[in-house]
């Protein structure tokens, strides 16, 4: 058993998790469907979004240089990092130079990807997560289980217990509104008192040097305006040529993620505070992070760089809806996570993820930038086979199958026997248990096969 199958087993055995995941993902799925129906020609809009991202990825170097020049002209400092460690080191050095004791962080998956929370802890810098879900995760000392709703695996009862144990003035009434109010009381002063604000970027605007963040809570602005220093950690693929290109991507992002026409707060930050401004940080640092992205671009995963982190693929994934995000074991869960995790953590550790996919294609159907996720997952399966990472039993089993399949008479004899044997195991049209394959049938049922194989029936038709 691999670590992934252990985690998936544990997740499947947890009835609370299934309810919690189903509640949020189900709502997201329904809301997206309504938003997409109301939009004029969403399919053409998806083509356009994919084309914008492909254009950017094709000319990524030039756009990054343009962004850098404009950001510097606006007074920001631009840093480049090839690896996660390098990105964290740059961020920590900026915090130390600023004499920072506390950091307010606005939710960023790139920050999670590079391990920034851990790096801040190691450097002894206090961190307050300001997105409500990230705050819950921080209090519970867990990792996000979804890229839009990081605490979707938590029920209200679990959140209530957590806040009562950790908040200074917790809620008294057992309502979700009272819990949110408790977090508001807890977090506001800490955002206003932070020395440094750290965010990710939803988009980097090449022709202005602006960094765009979107939130519904307004926590990005409250985390990034008061502190003296603002640090942005952004993946290099976040570039768009102009604000108008960003507008198209924002329309797609909000509808695909939450079903809204737009997020409540959408902000474009261009450099630090200007001389006569009343508020804003005195320093703005932008760390452009590669961490495998240039490699993805040159090694067959360029389409994955279109991803705008909306979470629609996981909301619509039958596997994610069963096991939730933690079982995937990486920073990014669901279909997009199964494609990205082998890049970030290595294929050897994560080869199971590509196999934990039914290839039903639902993720590709809802992806706002048309990433061919099932094809990319099949690519990992093939690579895993080529590199000899599949277990001996799998290699041996497939070897036997290939040997038999090249001998049609033997193959037909074998399948004929197998069909009869399987029909004996069927109950009410389904097979719920298979000898030697208990691990497979424990969570799955297989339809009872037809009485005769396709080839037998075909021959009968031909003989008639």
């Amino acid at each position: 058993m691999s670590a992934f199958t252990d985690r998936a087993d544990a997740a499947l055995a947890d009835p609370i998790l299934k309810t919690a995941v189903e509640r949020t993902a189900g709502t997201a799925e329904a809301k997206r469907a309504v938003a997409v129906d109301a939009f004029p020609d969403f399919e053409a809009a998806r083509d356009r979004a994919a084309a914008i991202k492909d254009h950017v990825v094709a000319h990524l170097g030039a756009y990054l240089e343009q962004f850098e020049a404009n950001a510097i002209a606006a007074g920001a400092k631009v840093h480049w990092a090839q690896t996660a460690d390098e990105a964290c080191r740059i961020a920590i050095d900026i915090c130390k130079a600023a004499g920072a004791k506390s950091v307010a962080r606005s939710k960023s998956m790139l920050g999670e990807e590079i391990g920034l929370p851990h790096a801040l802890a190691e450097a002894g810098i206090g961190r307050v997560e300001t997105d409500l879900a990230e705050h819950i995760i921080q209090l519970a000392d867990e990792r996000p289980s979804h890229i839009i709703w990081p605490a979707m695996h938590k029920t209200r009862e679990q959140v209530s217990a957590l806040f009562k144990a950790k908040h200074r003035t917790p809620h008294e009434e057992e309502t979700i509104a009272a819990m949110a109010e408790s977090a508001r009381r807890e977090l506001r002063g800490r955002m206003l008192g932070a020395d440094v604000g750290i965010s990710g970027a939803n988009f980097l605007i090449a022709d202005t040097g602006a960094v765009c963040t979107v939130t519904n809570e307004g926590n990005a602005e409250l985390s990034l305006v008061p502190p003296r220093v603002h640090i942005v950690t952004a993946g290099i693929e976040k570039i768009v040529p102009s604000m108008s290109h960003a507008v198209h991507m924002l329309r797609m992002l909000a509808r695909s993620a939450t079903g809204a026409a737009l997020t409540q707060y959408t902000t474009f930050y261009t450099g630090p505070k200007r001389p006569a401004d009343r508020d804003g940080p005195e320093e703005m640092h932008i760390i452009l992070v590669d961490n495998g992205r240039t490699k993805m671009r040159s090694e067959g995963l360029a389409e994955m760089l279109r991803c705008i982190r909306c979470g629609a693929c996981m909301n619509h994934c039958v596997v994610f809806r069963q096991i939730g995000g933690h079982a995937y074991g990486g920073t990014y869960p669901g279909p997009m996570g199964a494609v990205l995790t082998p890049v970030l953590d290595g294929l050897r550790q994560s080869r199971d993820l590509a196999s934990a996919c039914t290839l039903n294609g639902k993720c590709q159907e809802v992806c706002p930038v048309r990433i061919p996720l099932p094809t990319l997952l099949k690519g990992w399966r093939e690579k895993s086979w080529r590199e000899g990472l599949e277990p001996t039993s799998m290699r041996w089993g497939l070897g036997v199958w290939a040997w038999v399949a090249r001998r049609p008479a033997l193959y037909r004899l074998g399948t004929g026997v197998a069909v009869r044997a399987l029909r004996l195991l069927g109950r009410g049209g389904w097979i719920n248990a298979l000898p030697l394959a208990g691990g497979w049938t424990r969570h799955r049922a297989m339809p009872k096969p037809a009485a005769r194989t396709f080839m037998t029936q075909y021959r009968e038709q031909q003989d008639r």
Binding site: R48, M191, H248, D277
Partner: protein, 202 residues
């Protein structure tokens, strides 16, 4: 080799043509907005549950203080207001309301002047500057916004200014909300719980 050089070396390629980038924006798919009825279109979006802002209409700017006082009284809020140092607002007679220009950590109400309104989404467009701080609009429980009807535009593409950008350009499309606990929507997560738009036909 620096990280910058190493990354850019791996991304070498022909520069993009401006024409190719612009071609990606021809006839974008977007919500239909009746350009002849921008005020009605804007107000319809403002009333959507996702935005859920209230609104009032005044004919002339001098009616602004009374409209603000009316709103605060209706919500049982104290007659105090954080007002940005915008000379346009200073021309009004604010007697009856206590004004201050720095937001407190627990600010009750803040007034701001929107540069534009966007009919497509019901968004309010703001830009920071010496006359327009940003923080009060996120700290206040009641976010009150003055918007001139003539400043309503159809689509989000119409929002950005050409040329040098302000420190922050931001769009507000509702109140601070969260669905982070069991997907249930709560208003006033961190910032404003109420958004009130005062449209001026002047």
């Amino acid at each position: 080799m620096s990280a910058r050089e190493a990354i850019l070396a791996r991304l070498k390629g022909p520069p993009p043509s401006a024409a190719a980038a612009e071609a990606l924006l021809i006839a974008p798919e977007r919500p239909v907005v009746d350009a002849a009825a921008l005020e009605a279109e804007f107000l319809a979006r403002l009333a959507l549950p996702s935005v859920s802002a209230s609104h009032d209409v005044i004919e002339r700017l001098e009616q602004l203080p009374a409209a603000v006082a009316r709103y605060l009284a209706a919500h049982g809020a104290a007659p105090t207001l954080c007002v940005p140092p915008d000379p346009v607002l200073r021309t009004c007679d604010w007697s009856g309301l206590t004004l201050h220009d720095h937001a407190a950590p627990e600010e009750s109400a803040a007034l701001a002047v929107a540069r534009l309104g966007v009919a497509e989404t019901g968004s309010l467009v703001f830009e920071t500057g010496p006359r327009a701080p940003m923080l009060p609009n996120f700290l206040a429980l009641h976010h009150i916004v003055l918007l001139r009807v003539r400043d309503i535009v159809a689509h989000l593409e119409d929002a950005p200014l050409a040329g040098p950008q302000p420190r922050a350009h931001y769009w507000v499309t509702g109140v601070s909300g969260t669905t982070d606990i069991e997907g249930t929507y709560v208003r006033g997560a961190h910032g404003p719980r109420f958004l009130h738009v005062i449209l001026c036909r002047d």
